[in-house]
């Protein structure tokens, strides 16, 4: 009798609540918060544009239509070092290649490198971090001390060391950059698993008979996915930067392909005679990195329920 009573009233209440307002989903609420962050929206728009450019260039290349004003890899020594003008918007480099076309073409490589490198470090990092955080004890100590050693070496140096072992080339650079940032993901994941693991719902999952792997994948990881996504977004920007650095040192993409860091590195001899050959690739790198950073920061705020506007 008494029970029916409460059931009814609860139901009435739920219906009443539904009538006046549909509870917002977490995703929608997140989007609302994100939308109010101007910087994050700007970041997102730039990222979308960059992605659009990269995909268009890539597809046009595949089907053999030239949509860029010039072939980015076609050199014509008679046209070297033309200052920016109506014909060559960003000017031409020492080999007479059109800089605008090369920078647009470079978007493809930079984004590819950023996303792939993060995918590598993310998958290995999350796996190692989960095992370390969940198992604890000796496993944890072994994994995390290895990560500490990796973190103790400057990342670019470590990437160069990996490159030395793997050899030159863009694919090798991607792997090197991916491997280098594994510890960051492993640490973040381990830390959050340690705190989420203590939640009653994880204990409850064990009481009802869940096995370890199901607890990790079904009950723990979904609750820290937001953190990982934020870190990955910021990670793309540092991967873009690292590729540029490797390119600058001549270890990344091999000529004649266009890559911003490589362009920067090759142009450094002409800093006084043709400064625009440095400035435009530099701006391209800055904008990309900035866009991912702005978006990543906004995402972090949006995913943090405490900073959400009620």
């Amino acid at each position: 009798m008494a029970k029916d009573n409460s059931a009814n009233s609860d139901e009435n209440l739920m219906q009443a609540a539904e009538y006046v307002e549909k509870p917002e989903s977490q995703l929608k609420e997140m989007w609302e918060t994100l939308r109010q962050n101007k910087a994050a929206v700007v970041g997102l728009v730039i990222i979308a544009l960059l992605a659009l450019i990269a995909i268009t260039v890539w597809i046009s290349e595949l089907i053999g239509i030239q949509i860029l004003p010039y072939d980015p890899n076609y050199s014509d020594m008679t046209k070297s070092f033309i200052w920016p003008n109506a014909e060559h918007w960003f000017g031409t480099d020492q080999l007479g290649r059109d800089l605008f076309s090369r920078i647009i073409d470079g978007t493809k490589i930079s984004l590819f490198v950023g996303v792939t490198a993060v995918a590598i470090s993310l998958s290995i990092g999350v796996l190692l971090g989960s095992i370390a955080g969940y198992r604890g004890g000796k496993t944890d100590a072994l994994i995390m001390r290895t990560m500490d050693v990796m973190l103790a070496i400057p990342s670019i140096l470590l990437a160069i060391a990996f490159m030395a072992a793997l050899g030159k080339g863009l694919d090798k650079a991607v792997i090197a950059i991916g491997l280098v940032s594994i510890p960051e993901y492993a640490r973040i994941v381990r830390g959050s698993i340690l705190s989420v693991k203590e939640n009653d719902y994880v204990q409850a999952a064990r009481v009802i008979g869940n096995g370890d792997s199901r607890i990790i994948f079904k009950h723990i990881l979904p609750n820290i996915i937001s953190l990982i996504v934020v870190r990955a977004t910021l990670g793309i920007s540092s991967a873009v930067l690292d590729t540029a650095a490797l390119g600058f040192l001549g270890l990344g993409v091999q000529p004649p392909f266009a890559e911003w860091g490589d362009m920067l590195g090759r142009a450094r001899g002409f800093i006084f005679t043709a400064p625009y050959t440095l400035i435009f690739p530099g701006i391209a790198i800055t904008i990309t990195v900035l866009a991912f950073n702005l978006f990543g920061d906004g995402l972090r705020d949006a995913l943090d329920p405490k900073s959400r506007i009620k």
Partner: protein, 328 residues
């Protein structure tokens, strides 16, 4: 009369609407009196106490009313002037003795700082007073414990330290916001006893905010029951517990499992739950949970009426003929 609150309104402006957390609340506290405000979560009891101290954070704010403390309106003072009064004339102890103390400061430094900001005292005098206060609140070997850091003390000890700090400037009013909720029963008994002694010793008034009716019964002189931001009943402690009038108060009292209750029957329960503050039922805010709800209750909000010092906000009682509260 030490404190008089008149028609206090505190609102929170949220994106989805304005929540009136404290709605037209008026009460007084006399010198040396312990007044308890009871209510469940969302009743506005804590917001009331924070409003008194000018501690409401954005997007909230006091939207109206007067807070007369010794005939000075606190709601009109600047933050700086309030600072003068906070910790000096009015002090506060909070629910969480774990987080209310700064973990990187020694106990004595925290109390001394408070003393030195509000009273003209030298460092030496302030230290002497600190030790004296720690002794007053019953901390054994106070001179040594004064050098401890908060984490070296237990929950009960920390609440004593908080009390010592709050009392160190001999306030006229102590606001105790759920002072015993985080503590074990045997420690709760100690702290309530301490509040009692301190009241006797300093003749200060205490505003006790709690959800625990047992604590109220033991400690308070007068009780205010709040529900959804409004006062629904006010009476002295004996009257309230012996002749509760408002259906909410009656229900609350009946729903508590008592240790002197011998029956194995089901507990009385108030149906449903506290309404969403953005979607209050029309009329009386308790109408949707009330088992004596009448048609009128769902249309208009009853006024708080007073008869012989017993105030109640309910249509069941009318300012009736004989001048006595009586159920129709």
């Amino acid at each position: 009369m030490l404190l008089e609150v008149k028609n206090l309104r505190t609102e929170f402006k949220l994106k989805r609407g304005t929540v009136r957390a404290v709605d037209d609340v008026s009460f007084t506290i006399d010198k040396g009196e312990i007044l308890a405000i009871v209510g469940e979560s969302g009743s506005g009891k804590s917001v009331t106490s924070l409003s008194l101290m000018g501690l409401i954070q954005k997007p909230g704010g006091v939207a109206g009313g007067e807070i007369l403390f010794k005939s000075q309106d606190l709601s009109k003072l600047s933050q700086k002037e309030l600072q003068e009064i906070r910790g000096n004339k009015i002090s506060m102890i909070f629910q969480e003795p774990m987080t209310s103390l700064n973990p990187v400061w020694r106990i004595k430094d925290q109390i001394m700082e408070n003393i030195m900001t509000h009273m003209k005292m030298s460092k030496k005098e302030a230290l002497a007073r600190t030790v004296e206060m720690l002794d007053t609140v019953g901390i054994p070997s106070p001179a040594e414990r004064a050098n401890d850091y908060p984490h070296q003390m237990s929950g009960g000890m920390r609440q004593r330290v908080m009390t010592a700090m709050a009392l160190s400037c001999e306030p006229d009013l102590l606001i105790a916001d759920e002072p015993t909720t985080a503590l074990d029963v045997t420690i709760q008994a100690q702290i309530l006893e301490l509040l009692y002694q301190m009241r006797e010793k300093f003749n200060m008034a205490v505003l006790l905010i709690t959800h625990d009716l047992g604590v109220v019964y033991e400690a308070a002189d007068r009780v205010i029951v709040m529900y959804c931001g409004k006062i629904v009943e006010e009476a002295d402690v004996k009257t309230l517990f012996e002749q509760p009038q408002h259906p909410y108060t009656v229900g609350l009292l009946q729903s508590i499992p008592q240790i002197d209750n011998e029956s194995d029957e089901h507990l009385f329960m108030i149906k449903g739950m506290v309404p969403n503050p953005l979607h209050m039922p029309p009329g009386c805010s308790f109408s949707d949970r009330c088992d004596r709800c009448m048609e009128r209750c769902t249309k208009e909000m009853p006024e708080l009426q007073e008869i012989n010092g017993h105030k109640v906000r309910c249509f069941l009682y009318d300012k009736a003929e004989e001048g006595e509260l009586s159920a129709k």
